[in-house]
Amino acid sequence: MADMIRATGLVKRYKNTTALAGLDLVVPEGTVLGLLGPNGAGKTTAVRILATLLQPDEGTAEVAGIDVLADPMGVRARIGLSGQYAAVDEHLTGFENLEMVGRLYGMSRQKASVRARDLLERFDLTDAADRPSKTYSGGMRRRLDLAGALVAEPPVLILDEPTTGLDPRSRQQMWTVIRELVSDGTTLLLTTQYLEEADLLADDIVVIDHGQAIARGTADELKSQTGGERIEVVVADVERLDDAARALTAVAHGEVQRDPARRSVTAAVEDDGAGRLMQVLQALRADGVELLDVGLRRPTLDDVFLTLTGRAAENDATGTPTEKEVSA
């Protein structure tokens, strides 16, 4: 299998910030890579470089075997890009938008028109096809934008936060559409802030923060990297959070995470989750800490993310705490 996207050592600096600090990405043909990171991590910068919208200060990138710097037109002919902000013209109808894109890919008027109608049908937009797209809902606009990325049936698809800002139902619809595309063999690079989304859609995940990859692997690999099961304790009185944390520290593998807002503490345990949970409960009862909820659960990508970016934040040269907490 050939690599459809291959980026090595991408660096992009702006006046005061470094958006990318040496990012490597590889996406084999027919697979989905999820680029996961908080706002400002460098996801969009990476996408824009691969889509030839931006040039890296350092590093090289190839898409479908073509160098993005040497032959941007060649790359553009082989990719479909759908961005965070739906790239549709609001005054044009859905049909007009797609037909225009087809024409700009160099299709004949007739071919562009047929393709536009096909895509509108496929994305459940036939009824709205001849209405200006500004009358569309957010989800419809996103679908139209995605349809725009598919006009030329590109072998590589780049989706930048395709569901950010969508309501849960539209998000589900979008996921269904994306999964269909992937099952057709399209190579996909997907950026997201939603761990659930990466877990659901991506074969491989690269976690990125401060412009660098801080972890990579399958969702399962990342989860095991964060440790095994997790114990979560919610206390009735926030004053006792420290006591609960102390009880957890005794059994924890790695750091204990506190969330005063939810009055909860969480920690990963290496093995024998049930046994250690009992241990914690006994300690807390002996201490007289009243509990609202306790639980033992498999780690989610949220945990992975928090563990990883939490560590990154501590390594921050300036020592300033970064706002990387996941509020998903």
């Binding site: 040039q55 553009r76 890009l81 790239a87 044009l92 225009m100 024409r103 160099g106 725009g148």
Partner: protein, 272 residues
């Protein structure tokens, strides 16, 4: 900067596709068109009836005859603001990312915009000509000269479109382009012979008036439309003696400078 060249044919077809999109917008947001067309009418009426009594172009020439050429010139210059505003707006919208990620000609967005703005100018010139006819203006030099006058106006407008397009790509927002262009256009059109005869300006401003391209377009129109009087002497400046040629120089000069400049700025602005 990579310079992937596209064939002139591709520039033309892509430019046409983008122009078509802009024209659809004229249909969808007719309010814009209404205001574009109302302002020249307002200018014709204001100047003809408010200043008409106060300004004397001299030697029995009717002020309305004198005025229309100036209004034509002013309107097409104002109309060019549209190009700048349209581009500035596009740059803020996601659609520009779509354009940029397509294997289309790089200059198509600019070519399309300036081309579709010709349509605006044709419409506003038509409306103004009608308004002019209603208030008593007449073209007196025959069909060919009249058409030549309008063609010169459109060419000049096209060139100014590229200037405004450039400004539209440099400034950060649509609001700024409107104010910025106002600062350029008002002095350019008012310190010209468009509304007031050259000899009425003081000696400091007069050279500027004489060499101002807006004056040249205006003078060229007056001559081609036959709105001059033999009794009114022309200024001695070469620009006023040869207004058509002088205007053509400006058109070519502006295009030579601003087409590449705008294309370059488009690349810079859209890769932020």
């Amino acid at each position: 900067m990579s310079t992937t060249r596209t064939s002139p044919l591709r520039v033309a077809t892509d430019g046409w596709v983008v122009a078509k999109r802009n024209v659809i917008k004229i249909k969808r947001v007719p309010e814009i068109l209404v205001f574009v067309l109302l302002s020249p009418i307002m200018f014709v009426l204001l100047f003809a009836y408010v200043f008409g009594g106060a300004i004397d172009p001299g030697a029995g020439l009717d002020y309305k005859e004198f005025l229309i050429g100036g209004i034509f010139a002013q309107t097409v210059v104002f109309g060019a603001t549209f190009t700048g505003a349209g581009l500035a707006e596009d740059m803020q919208k996601g659609i520009i990312d779509r354009f940029r990620s397509l294997p289309m000609s790089r200059s198509a967005v600019l070519v399309g915009r300036t081309t579709s703005d010709i349509i605006y100018n044709v419409l506003s010139l038509a409306i103004m000509a009608l308004t002019g006819l209603l208030v008593g203006w007449r073209a007196r030099e025959g069909v060919l000269d009249t058409l030549a006058g309008f063609a010169l106006l459109l060419l000049f407008a096209y060139a100014v479109s590229w200037v405004m397009g450039y400004i539209g790509l440099v400034v950060p927002s649509v609001e700024v382009i409107n104010n910025a262009s106002f600062l350029v256009i008002m002095p350019l059109t008012f310190v010209s012979n468009a509304f007031v005869p050259t000899e009425d300006f003081n000696s400091v401003l007069r050279p500027f008036v004489e060499w101002n391209p807006v004056s040249a377009v205006t003078q060229a129109c007056r001559e081609l439309f036959g709105n001059t009087s033999a009794a009114v002497p022309l200024p001695d400046a070469w620009s006023m003696q040869n207004p058509v040629l002088y205007t053509l120089f400006w058109i070519v000069g502006i295009l030579i400078v601003f087409v590449p400049l705008s294309v370059r700025q488009y690349r810079i602005a859209s890769s932020r």
